[in-house]
C-alpha cells in the first residue's frame, strides 16, 4: 500500500506537471486509498480517472474512468476486451488496461500512469469518431 514517503514523491512529480487542482489523494490512511485525477481531452470533454492504491506500488494499480463508457456500437465497456483495452468493471466504472504486470515495476510513477490514461481516453474518442477498435491505434501494453 502507498506509504507517506511514496505519496510525497508522487505529489512532487504531479505538482511539477499538473496544477494542484488536477488531482486529489482520497481515503489515505484507510485500507482502500485512491487517487482521483481530472483530465480535459482535446475535444473539450472532461474525464475523471480513479487509481486504486491499495496494492500500489507492489502491483499494477486498478484504474477506472469514473463512469460507464460505451463503444460507438453502444456496448457497455464493462468486461475484458483485448481490442478495446478494458478489464472487468467495478463500481459501475469502465476499467482501463494501462500497464501489463510483466512490465510493471514499483518505480513506475502515478504521473506515468496518468499519461497512459490520457492516451487511452484520446484513443477512445478517436474510436467514437471512426468506429475502429482502439487496438488499431494503441499497441498492447506488454
Amino acid at each position: 500500500m502507498i506509504d507517506s514517503t511514496r505519496q510525497q514523491m508522487e505529489t512532487q512529480v504531479l505538482n511539477h506537471y499538473l496544477p494542484a487542482t488536477a488531482y486529489r489523494f482520497m481515503d489515505i490512511g484507510t485500507s482502500q486509498p485512491y487517487l482521483m485525477m481530472g483530465m480535459l481531452t482535446n475535444s473539450g470533454k472532461t474525464y475523471t480517472i480513479r487509481i486504486d492504491l491499495a496494492h500500489f506500488p507492489e502491483s499494477v494499480p486498478e484504474v477506472y474512468v469514473t463512469k460507464m463508457l460505451y463503444t460507438k456500437q453502444g456496448t457497455a465497456m464493462d468486461s475484458p476486451s483485448a481490442s478495446m483495452h478494458t478489464l472487468s468493471s467495478k463500481y459501475g466504472f469502465t476499467r482501463i488496461c494501462h500497464y501489463g504486470s510483466n512490465s510493471w515495476s514499483p518505480r513506475v510513477s502515478l504521473y506515468k500512469i496518468f499519461i497512459k490514461c490520457r492516451l487511452w481516453v484520446e484513443i477512445y474518442e478517436l474510436h467514437l469518431k471512426t468506429g475502429r477498435p482502439m487496438d488499431y491505434y494503441l499497441n498492447h501494453q506488454s
Partner: protein
Amino acid sequence: MDTSLHAPDAAELPIVYIDGEDLRRFLASGVTEQTGYSYSWEGEGVTHLHLHPLRHAFGSTGSVLFCRQAPAEVVADYAVEVAADGTARLLIAADDSWHEHPAMLIPAQSELFSRSKGILEVGALAGKRVMIVGLGSFGSQIAIELAKAGVGSFALMDFDRVELHNLMRHTCVANELGRLKTDAIADAILGKNPYAEVDRYPVNINRHPDLMLSEVERADIVICATDNNESRFNLSRTLVEAGKPGIFGRAVTRAEGGDVFIYRPGEACYSCLIGTGMFRQGEEEITDEASARRDGRIASYMSAADADAVVQVGLSADIEPICNMMVKLTLVELSRGLDTGIASLEDELVYNYYIWANRRERRHANWSAMPNAGAKPTIMRWYGAHIATDPSCTICGMGSLDLGAVDEDMALLQEIQALNASTLDDNTDDSTEQ
C-alpha cells in the same frame, strides 16, 4: 540412551518404534502412568508409539500406556514399561493379555542428524528459522531440503491447496490432493525432523502486511518462491525494512533456464535487479493459469485456448538445479560465521545474482554447446553476477520515480491528439458516450 530393546527380524512383525525423547519425558515427569498414542500404517505391520499426538498423522491411531509397571489387565493397545535407568520394555495387547515384543527407538533430537555431523553442525541450524513464501514446485523442495540439513524452525506461507495440475513437479503425492500446501509441507518437514517447529500460514501474504513484517523479523532468512511479482515486491520492501536476507528464484519459459537472486542487507535489492536489463520479467515460466490470471500475467481477456498455450510447464529435473542453488545459498547465509564444512562456499557464492541454462533455447540460444565451450557460457553451469545498488531505487536507495519514457508517451499522446483533431466524426450522432 542404553536400552534393552533390540531390532526385530522380519518374522517378528509388527515392527514397533518407541519415541526415545518421550521415554525421557515420561521419566522426567515423575508420573507413574500416562496414556499415549500408537500410529500404524494399515496392513504394513509397522507401528510408532508416542506420548503426545503427532502433528502429522498416518494410518490408524490407537493407545499406548507409558508406565513404570504394566497393570495386570489390558487397558491399551500397547504398554511401554520404562525403568528408572531409562530402559524400556514393550508389551502388545493380544487375547486380553500382554505379550512382550521387541522394539526400536525413534532417535532423540541430538541423534537425528548425527550422519551429517562434520559438514553442518546440527546445533547451529537447529536454532535457525527460515520463512518460505510459496510452497509450489520450488518452495516444497526447498523446505524439505532445509529440513534435511537440520534447519529447526520454519514459517510456511501459501494459501493454495494440492491440486492435480501442480502435482507432477511437487513433492506432494496423489493421496494428498486437496490438502493445504502448508499442512502437507509441514508434515513433510516433520517427517524429516520431528523436532522442527513449523508455523503454517495458509494466507495471501500480500493482504497481511503486518504478519509479513513480524514473520520476516523472526526469520533468519526468507525464501521467496512465489510465482507473482506483487509478493516479490512486497517481500523485497519488507526485507529492506527489517534488514533480513532473502532469496528469490524462478524458472523462465518451460524451465529452459532460471535465475536466483539473493538480497543481503546493504546490497542491491530485488527492485534494483528489476531495473537492470539482465532480468526479463516477461519470460517467466507460467505454470498455473489461475494464479497467472489473478495477477494479470495472463490478461483476463485472453481465451482459454490462448492461455493454454502460454502455460508451459518444464521438467521437474530442470527446476531442481535452481532449487538446489537456493538451498545452498540459504545454508551458506545461515552458517555464516559458524565453523562448518561449507564455510568455504562463502568465498565462492559471493555474487548476488546467478543464472542457469538447461537448454540452448530462446534467451540462451546463442550460448555455446557444451563440447569445446571453453570460457564461453554454456548449459548446466552457474554464472554469477554482481548487481549493484541502484541509488535511485525507491525501495532501498534514495528513491526517485521512473519517468523514463514519459517523453515518449507524451509524443505519442500529441500524435493521437493531432490525429483526433483531423479526424472527422463519421457519424454525427454522437450519443454513444453517455
